[in-house]
Every structure is written in structure tokens, then in C-alpha cells.
């Protein structure tokens, strides 16, 4: 079973829906990971990307009531609801200007009461503070909400936000596309088609975007494969503007599916691996350490992932759902995570231009040699 798929992978042949399901079902995750690792190394060798980014969630007020979400509050006055003033949001960057991030990643609830100008000013304010900062903001679900809420087309929304400073779209909000799942977990926000349409429009405007999948709740392996193939199809159609695919593990604490177990590390690795194998036209697969813990993310760098996302600094969405990952990682920690996996750390910008290359560990896959560590040689290059 796996041999036939392995042959296809070796020949560079596209995998089918059934192949995807077979890979998800295969009992030996290590064998599947090895296949994905082969593809990853063919595409990127040992290079493993990360960036200096910072997450900001400016509001958790959200009109949608997704079952899996522990972050959103329905109304501004609900307990725990919080919307940042523009000044507070900008301060997040201002206080870090001695070691500033290269990218700001903003994801929010669908707030019913803010004027559209809030978002425009939000973007332009960050650009005022640091003109070369990359603004990767607003999921397709938010863009779609803006279009509906403020009576604009997707194109109009995106053009106005771009004029205000928007550079690219993050991939959140994809959840699971298949209606059997989506209508049950996210019935009152953008549909799969609407999510994909926003990305299609963004791609037509020349923007690059990421995309995601929230797995490990009520969906089947077939739903996952369906999801991945819809991404693959849009990527074919648009000629490759999706830069990265990010599998996101469902975390159950404090949300409408709190009685379900969280997907395990094996599932995380399997999903990374199968995504890498199916998404033959998406350049990067991320091991999002916030979702899977830094430890498992390190293993995922050998199961098909080539990107760790970034420093993040201050993540709140997964935190609310019970993730025990830290809120942020330093560049040093990211470099070490990559080196301990025996890979070569590459700091990138949002478009995967190289900012800086770091040496790979000297021993194959093992940690640094003791004497290098003692001499802090792996840190020297950072300072």
C-alpha cells in the first residue's frame, strides 16, 4: 500500500484522494514521515525557516460562535471581552523598537461595533512607527466579514486595507472546508467557498497568502484530505500564491467541544507529513510550535515541515484553549530548536527572502557537540 504511494512520490507524481486517506490511516507514522521528509528535503534540503514576528489580537469580540473557539467573546461587555485601543495596539510595537519584529500578524474576532477606519488606522499606525514592517493581517473570514458588514466587495476591502498598509493575508479561518463539518463547528462565518474566494481575490490583486486546516475534532480523515485537495486546486488555479500551509491542532479547553480529547502528537506529525505529501504545489509546510509545542515541532521538522513560523511573542488564542506552549520564543531558542533537529536555521522575511543563515549542527541530527555548546558557539553567531 505504502510502496505504491512511495513510488508515486519518488516519480514526483501527484497523489490522489485515496492516497491521502491511505496515508492518514497507515499505522506506521514513522514510515509516512520518512516519505514526507524525502519530499521536504528535495524541496528545501536542510533549510528550515523562521521569522521575527509578533502576534497581536486586537479584539476577541466576535459575532461568530465557532464550537472550537475558546478565545471569542460574543459582546463587548461579556466577561473577558477585550478590544484594544489603537494606541495600545501600536504600543506593542513601540516598546519593542530596540529589537523590532519584521512582521506583525494580526488576527481578531469579528467585532460588530468597530468602524472600518479602525482597521485602516491600525495598519497605517504600525507603518508610521516602522515603515518597513510587514503587516500580515486579517484572515479571509475577517475580510469576508468586513465586506458584508461594511457593504463592500472583497476587492474593495482588500484594496482599502492595502492602501492602509496591509501586505499579506494569514491563513486562519479555514477550519475544515467540508460542509458536513463546517456547518456544525462554524455555521455562522465565511463558508469554504467564501474563504477560498477571498484568497482568490487577494491572489488576483497580487497578494500572497497562507492557508490552514484545523484538525483533530469531529472531522474524518476523508474531510482532511478533501480540505487539502481544495487548497491544492486553488493553488493550481492561481499559480502558486499560497506560500505556506499550516496545520492547526484543535485544543479543547474552554470551548464548545471541551469534552473531546485534543489530537495527540502522533496525529500532529501525521498531519504535517500527509500535508507535505498531498500539497505538492505549496512550497512550505509549517510546524506551528504554538499549536504542537516546540518539542513536537522539532520532530515535525523531520516529518515534512520546513518552517517553524516565528517568535510570535504574545499568543492568546491557543493559550485560551489550554495549550502549554510558551507565549513566545526567542530567536536563540528557535535557532536551537532547528539545530537540535540537525537542520539549518534560516531567518526569513514574510516572503521567504533570506535574512540570515545560521550554521547547521555539526552532528547529523543530533544536538550540538558538548564543547561547542560550552563555548556557546551556537549563540556567538547571533550576537
Amino acid at each position: 500500500m505504502l510502496e505504491a504511494i512511495a513510488d508515486k512520490v519518488k516519480r514526483g507524481e501527484r497523489l490522489s484522494f485515496d492516497d491521502g486517506v491511505t496515508l492518514f490511516r497507515h499505522p506506521d507514522v514513522v514510515a509516512v514521515g520518512q516519505l514526507a521528509n524525502g519530499v521536504r528535503e528535495r524541496l528545501h534540503g536542510d533549510r528550515t525557516y523562521f521569522n521575527r514576528n509578533m502576534r497581536i489580537e486586537v479584539t476577541n469580540v466576535c459575532v461568530a460562535s465557532c464550537l472550537f473557539c475558546s478565545f471569542a467573546k460574543l459582546e463587548e461587555h461579556s466577561p473577558g471581552a477585550h478590544t484594544m485601543s489603537l494606541a495600545d495596539a501600536w504600543r506593542e510595537l513601540e516598546v519593542r523598537m530596540d529589537d523590532p519584529p519584521a512582521e506583525i500578524h494580526i488576527v481578531n474576532g469579528l467585532h460588530p461595533g468597530l468602524p472600518f477606519s479602525y482597521y485602516e488606522e491600525l495598519l497605517s499606525g504600525f507603518k508610521r512607527i516602522k515603515p518597513d514592517i510587514h503587516m500580515k493581517c486579517f484572515t479571509a473570514v475577517e475580510i469576508h466579514f468586513f465586506a458584508q458588514h461594511y457593504g463592500m466587495t472583497h476587492t474593495e476591502v482588500l484594496e482599502r486595507l492595502r492602501r492602509a498598509g496591509l501586505d499579506s493575508l494569514p491563513g486562519g479561518g479555514a477550519e475544515i472546508f467540508h460542509p458536513e463539518v463546517r456547518t456544525r463547528i462554524s455555521h455562522d462565518k465565511a463558508t469554504a467557498d467564501e474563504y477560498l474566494e477571498v484568497h482568490r481575490v487577494a491572489h488576483k490583486l497580487g497578494m500572497r497568502t497562507n492557508t490552514t486546516m484545523l484538525y483533530g475534532h469531529i472531522e474524518t480523515f476523508e474531510h482532511r484530505v478533501d480540505h487539502l485537495l481544495r487548497i491544492r486546486a486553488l493553488q493550481d488555479e492561481a499559480g502558486g500564491p499560497f506560500q505556506a500551509f499550516i496545520p492547526l491542532a484543535f485544543h479543547p479547553d474552554g470551548n464548545g467541544m471541551r469534552n473531546m480529547p485534543a489530537p495527540t502528537a502522533i496525529d500532529a506529525l501525521r498531519t504535517v507529513a500527509v500535508s507535505r505529501l498531498l500539497l505538492d504545489n505549496v512550497p512550505h509546510v509549517k510546524a506551528y510550535w504554538v499549536s504542537m509545542t516546540p518539542e513536537v515541532a522539532q520532530i515535525a521538522l523531520r516529518f515534512g515541515a520546513d518552517d517553524l513560523d516565528g517568535t510570535i511573542v504574545h499568543e492568546t488564542i491557543y493559550k485560551a484553549a489550554g495549550s502549554r506552549s510558551p507565549s513566545g520564543l526567542s530567536v536563540e531558542q528557535l535557532v536551537r530548536l532547528v539545530q537540535e533537529a540537525g537542520r539549518m536555521p534560516v531567518e526569513r522575511d514574510t516572503f521567504y527572502n533570506v535574512v540570515r543563515e545560521y550554521p547547521r549542527a555539526t552532528l547529523p541530527e543530533s544536538a550540538l557537540k558538548v564543547r561547542d555548546r560550552k563555548a556557546n558557539k551556537h549563540l556567538e553567531v547571533l550576537s
Binding site: V29, Q34, P263, V296, R373
Partner: protein, 634 residues
């Protein structure tokens, strides 16, 4: 380089038959070049394995276990026919024996005995019973024989109705000489001049054989004429092409029987002619997956060169061969620390406090009762009871505690690591066996394998100076196993240890397991470098953990179970480790003070364990300390 650095560090087994080879090294001109020390066979092999000696006159089985060693051409301790000092004795024909008492640490002779007896008896061999040499002789009778080695063999010549000289038996079987020991070292350890020194010492020693025999006769009371003949006729000191064929035959048969790693005899001078061939890595892994034993050198290669997947798949294949049922076990028990007072001050430990420190404590009966009741209420089957080395708790305290626990609770008592047992022995001036006998009488069921850290003394001295030596740790386990107690084995790496140290650790556990079969399982983890510890972290990382555990599963071919240490690595990585050779998920977590005081805190209940085991593709079953299933796998 210091003068000492330029000396050739030579270790030799100090037995009578070895003296003609090494004694001359203590005299000029060799003495200005050679630093000679004599020690037991195990010790001389250890020195080469841990790079404390350049060459050693060591038993050939030990050389195969280290692996990739070179032999000095021309010098060996061997026989061409009868050897007299390696014999199987019995009251009835050797072929009819059901049991054989042996000193299991004499591996070369034990393997020779097994190969010879199997060959003479259509594959059938007697059951081996470990015994000290004189106990072995005393136990001979009926269906039990003994393998007797060295001076005792010469002492009992003619005493038993039936005796099989293994040198002669080997000759009859193969028409080849047998080599018991030779000068061995790592490639490049001997120069041409050094080899000449060894040959010169041998020539001189052979000339002095009669004096050596007479001196030994004086010491032991054995007849001088018999000893002279022994050194002159029985023992052969040559190592040429014929001896090489004999040794190669021995290595091949031992490897075929799964008793030694596959080994090719290679002389130092072979390297001067051509580079040594190295088997491809996947060949090694394929052999390991088939159940072949790997040498320490091969283990080091796996650690250095094996990819995560190669190691993982091979370890998984080993796991599958040992446990084809696809079951992963776990235990409901609780780690209870009875005191944090400790006198060892290990630099990696954040848990201990000195006696009298305001934060020091000894658990009261009341606190303990509460914890034990919680274990019982949670369906637990045992407690793991460990503590620091408290200088004022006497053996009676432990005995009373154990009796109380056993009378009040139906719980297994997995208690006191070797370090604590040695500590009690020191406090009470009792030997290990006496301590263990008393504790077992009070209720001790099994011994946890903690405190092993890295069983290489160079490492131990740096991280835990006051702790027992590797030999002491293994010695406690040997005694415990001999008494029928079972134990686990552990390894904490990631301080100052090198890959070679970590493999040496595994091989020491494997060697002892060959003797005792007393280890149930192996667990490893990396040093948890956090607040309160005083040493820098060495090799680390999750990927390394998986590789290290996989190599352990591959190397420890005689240890039944390997457990994933989710307590240190986290439930996520612990689960992944199940696909890298582990067949056990350890224990549910009530509390664990030592690791958590260094900053690692994870919790997992039985449901969480079973969910992760199943999500990794296995069936889950609860177990007891002997790894019997307490629930049917599901």
C-alpha cells in the same frame, strides 16, 4: 603533551597464564614507554572501552563487545588442544547434564562451553546457573556440572569422574587453535615499534616461564611441575594465521548463536596495508532488526550516523519482534519521595537539601498514609518509594516503614535505588546482600533503576562526585537480581557525556543482563536543565531523545521492555517515542518531586495514557512491576 600522555597505557589481566606476555613490559627498555597496570578482565576491557587504556590483554569476548578493535599480531593466550584451565566437570557424562554452574562474568569461556556443548549434543545445552567459582565446584553433583576456570581448574584436576577440557574439545570440533585473550586496542593505538615491544616482552617472558610457574607454585601450593607444563605446553602464546582462523571461527559461531556481535578479526598491521571495510549503516540496522547483537562501536555509529527514520524504524522492528502483540503497557502507581535530605550534592539535582536546612523534610506517616490511600483509590498497584541519602535514617526505620506499608495497603513496593541501598549498607556496616535480605523480609518487592545516570565513572565524577561508582551501581543490581528481585534500568544523558559514554552505559547494562536477566525495562531521559542545577546542559533536544531511545532499543537486545519517559519529555513527545522502540508508557502521574523541582511538570491520568497509546496505533494494557498485564489490551 605531558610525559604521561606519550606513554602507552597498557592494561593486562593479572592471571598466571598472562604473565609471560606482560611481565617484560615492566622492565627496560619497554618500561620507559609503557605504563602497565593489571586488573580483572572486566576492568581491563572497561579501560579500553572508556579510553583509559590504549591497549589491554583482554578476553576475546570482551573485545567483540567493544567492537572494531585491532589485535596485536603474534601475541595471545591460547591453546592448541588441551588447555587444562578451562574445563567442564561433573559426576556423570557431560552430555547428560541438565545444569551447569558457571561464573557468568567469564564470558569467553562460558560462550566456548555453550558452543562446544551444543555441538557435541545436537544443539541441546544445559541450563546455566550463575555461581562464584568455589560455589560452582561445590555444587557439582547429579545432573549439575560446573565450568571451572583458571587456578581452581588446575587444583581440581583428576577430582571428578568426568571432565571436558574445552581447549581440546574445540580442537576436536574445529581442528583449530583457540584464542582466549589477546592484546587489543582501537585502530591506531599501536605503532610498529610498540608491537615490537610487545613481541620482545613475550620472547623474554617465554624464557622465564619456569620461574613464573615456580613463583606461582609457591604462592598457591600447586605442584611446580604441573604449572611448568601448563605454561610450557598447554598455553600457546602465538597469534598467527592459524590462530586467527580459530578465533574467527569462534566469533562466527558465537555471532550465529546470538551470543556476541558479529566480529572480524583484524590486526593492527592489517590497517597498515589497507583500510578496514565498514558495513553500510542499513546493513547494521537490518541485522539489528533481525535480532543480531551489535557491538559498542556499532552502537556509536548508529548514534552518529543513523537518521531519525532509520533508527526509528529499526527500533520499531525490534520492538515488534519482542512484542508482536502491538500492546503498550502502563502502570498506575505513584512516585513517593520519603525525604529530600541528601548528602551527595549532585550537581544536576534541584531536589535535595542538606540535613537541618529549613526546606528539608522527611515524610510523616500521616502524609504518607494520605498519599498511599490516594493510590489505592485510584486503582494503583504499587508505589515507587525513593529519597535522598538521609544520614540519620537507620535500616530499622526503613524496615518499619515497609512493614507498615505492606500491612496497611495492598500495594507493591518498588523501593530504594542502588545508591540508597549502598548508603544504608554503609550506615549499618552491612553488605548489599544483607541489606537487601532485611528489606525484602520487611516487604521490598523490586528495585527501581534510578541513579544510574551514566555508568561511566569519568562522567559520574563530574556530575555526582559523591555517588557510587558504576561498578557499585551494577553490583547492587547484580546482587538484587541474584536474589530474585527485579529492577529497571535507567540512563540520564545530556550533561558531560559523549555518544561513546552513552553507548558504553547501554553495553554495561546488557552485559549484566546477560549474567542475571534481572532487568525488566529500560528508560532514558535527558538532563533537565533548569533552575537549581549547577551544570550546563550537554547534548539535548527532542530529536536526540528519540534517536537515543531508539539506539537503546536496538542495543539492549536482552532487556524485555523499553519505556518512554513522558514525565521528562512531555506527554506529546512520550507518545511519539512509542513509535521509536518503546512498548511501555511508564506511570500515570500523581506527583514526582525530583524532576518537577527542576522545572518539568506534566500530568497524565490513565485515560490520557490510554488515549495516547491508542492514537499511536497500539492497544493499551495496565501492568504491574513485572510487566504482567492486569487488564486485557484494548
Amino acid at each position: 603533551m605531558s610525559e604521561l600522555g606519550e606513554m602507552l597505557r597498557v592494561a593486562a589481566v593479572g592471571y598466571l597464564n598472562a604473565r609471560p606476555l606482560y611481565e617484560g613490559l615492566d622492565r627496560s627498555p619497554a618500561s620507559s614507554r609503557v605504563l602497565l597496570e593489571c586488573a580483572s578482565p572486566r576492568e581491563v576491557a572497561r579501560r579500553v572501552a572508556e579510553d583509559e587504556a590504549d591497549i589491554a590483554l583482554m578476553p576475546v569476548a570482551a573485545a567483540a563487545t567493544i567492537g572494531d578493535l585491532r589485535l596485536a599480531r603474534g601475541c595471545a593466550i591460547g591453546a592448541r588442544g588441551a588447555v587444562r584451565s578451562v574445563v567442564v566437570v561433573a559426576d556423570r557424562p557431560i552430555e547428560t547434564l541438565d545444569e551447569l554452574a558457571v561464573d557468568l562474568s567469564s564470558r569467553t569461556s562460558v560462550i566456548l562451553a555453550r558452543l562446544v556443548l551444543r555441538a557435541r549434543n545436537r544443539g541441546r545445552e544445559p541450563r546455566l546457573i550463575g555461581a562464584e567459582p568455589h560455589d560452582a565446584i561445590a555444587s557439582v553433583g547429579g545432573a549439575r556440572g560446573a565450568l571451572v576456570i583458571g587456578d581452581p581448574a588446575l587444583e581440581i584436576e583428576g577430582r571428578f569422574a568426568h571432565a571436558l577440557d574445552l581447549g581440546l574439545a574445540w580442537w576436536e570440533l574445529t581442528r583449530l587453535p583457540f584464542v582466549f585473550a589477546a592484546w587489543c586496542g582501537r585502530a591506531g593505538a599501536l605503532s610498529v615499534d610498540d608491537e615490537r615491544l610487545l613481541e620482545a616482552a613475550k620472547r623474554e617472558g617465554l624464557d622465564r616461564r619456569e620461574a613464573i610457574a615456580d613463583a606461582h607454585a609457591e604462592q598457591t601450593g600447586l605442584p611446580p611441575a604441573s604449572l611448568r607444563a601448563y605454561l610450557r605446553e598447554a598455553i600457546r602464546y602465538d597469534l598467527g594465521d592459524e590462530e586467527r582462523r580459530g578465533l574467527q571461527r569462534f566469533y562466527d559461531e558465537a555471532a550465529h548463536a546470538g551470543l556476541l556481535p558479529r566480529t572480524t578479526v583484524r590486526f593492527f598491521d592489517d590497517d597498515r596495508r589497507a583500510a578496514a571495510p565498514t558495513p553500510a549503516l542499513d546493513t547494521l540496522l537490518g541485522r539489528a532488526a533481525e535480532g543480531e547483537r551489535l557491538s559498542a562501536a556499532e552502537g556509536e555509529r548508529l548514534l552518529a550516523q543513523g537518521s531519525l527514520f532509520e533508527l526509528g524504524l529499526a527500533a520499531d522492528a525490534v520492538r515488534r519482534r519482542k512484542h508482536p502483540n502491538g500492546v503498550v503497557t502502563y502502570i498506575v502507581d505513584r512516585n513517593v519521595n520519603y525525604t529530600n535530605v541528601c548528602t551527595t550534592s549532585c550537581r544536576f539535582c534541584a531536589f535535595y537539601r542538606p540535613l537541618g536546612h529549613p526546606e528539608s523534610w522527611v515524610l510523616s506517616r500521616g502524609e504518607l498514609a494520605k498519599k498511599l490511600q490516594e493510590v489505592v483509590d485510584a486503582g494503583g498497584v504499587q508505589i515507587l518509594l525513593q529519597g535522598g541519602l538521609h544520614p540519620e535514617l537507620r535500616i530499622e526505620w526503613y524496615e518499619e516503614l515497609f512493614r507498615w506499608i505492606k500491612s496497611e495497603y495492598k500495594l507493591g513496593l518498588h523501593a530504594l535505588s542502588p545508591e540508597e541501598i549502598l548508603h544504608i549498607g554503609n550506615l549499618e556496616a552491612l553488605d548489599t546482600r544483607a541489606v537487601l535480605e532485611r528489606l525484602r523480609a520487611a516487604g521490598l518487592d523490586s528495585v527501581p533503576g534510578g541513579g544510574a545516570e551514566i555508568l561511566v565513572d569519568r562522567v559520574r565524577r563530574k556530575i555526582a562526585k559523591a555517588k557510587c561508582t558504576s561498578e557499585q551501581w551494577l553490583g547492587v543490581m547484580r546482587v538484587a537480581h541474584q536474589m530474585g528481585l527485579r529492577s529497571s534500568a535507567t540512563m540520564m544523558y545530556g550533561t558531560v557525556d559523549t555518544p561513546r559514554d552513552r553507548v558504553a552505559h547501554l553495553v554495561k547494562i546488557r552485559d549484566l543482563q546477560d549474567e542475571t536477566s534481572g532487568f525488566t525495562a529500560f528508560f532514558c531521559w535527558d538532563f533537565q536543565h533548569e533552575r537549581g542545577t549547577k551544570i550546563e546542559a550537554g547534548d539535548h533536544g527532542t530529536v536526540l531523545y528519540l534517536r537515543q531511545q531508539a539506539v537503546a532499543r536496538i542495543m539492549l537486545d536482552n532487556v524485555p521492555h523499553v519505556g518512554a519517559s513522558w514525565v521528562t519529555q512531555g506527554p506529546e513527545v512520550g507518545q511519539v517515542a512509542l513509535r521509536f522502540g518503546a512498548d511501555d508508557f511508564g506511570s500515570v502521574m500523581f506527583e514526582e518531586n525530583v524532576v518537577s523541582s527542576a522545572g518539568t511538570t506534566f500530568c497524565m491520568n490513565a485515560e490520557g495514557m490510554e488515549q495516547r497509546i491508542r492514537a499511536a496505533g497500539f492497544k493499551a494494557a495496565r501492568r504491574n512491576v513485572r510487566y504482567d498485564w492486569l487488564t486485557s489490551p484494548s
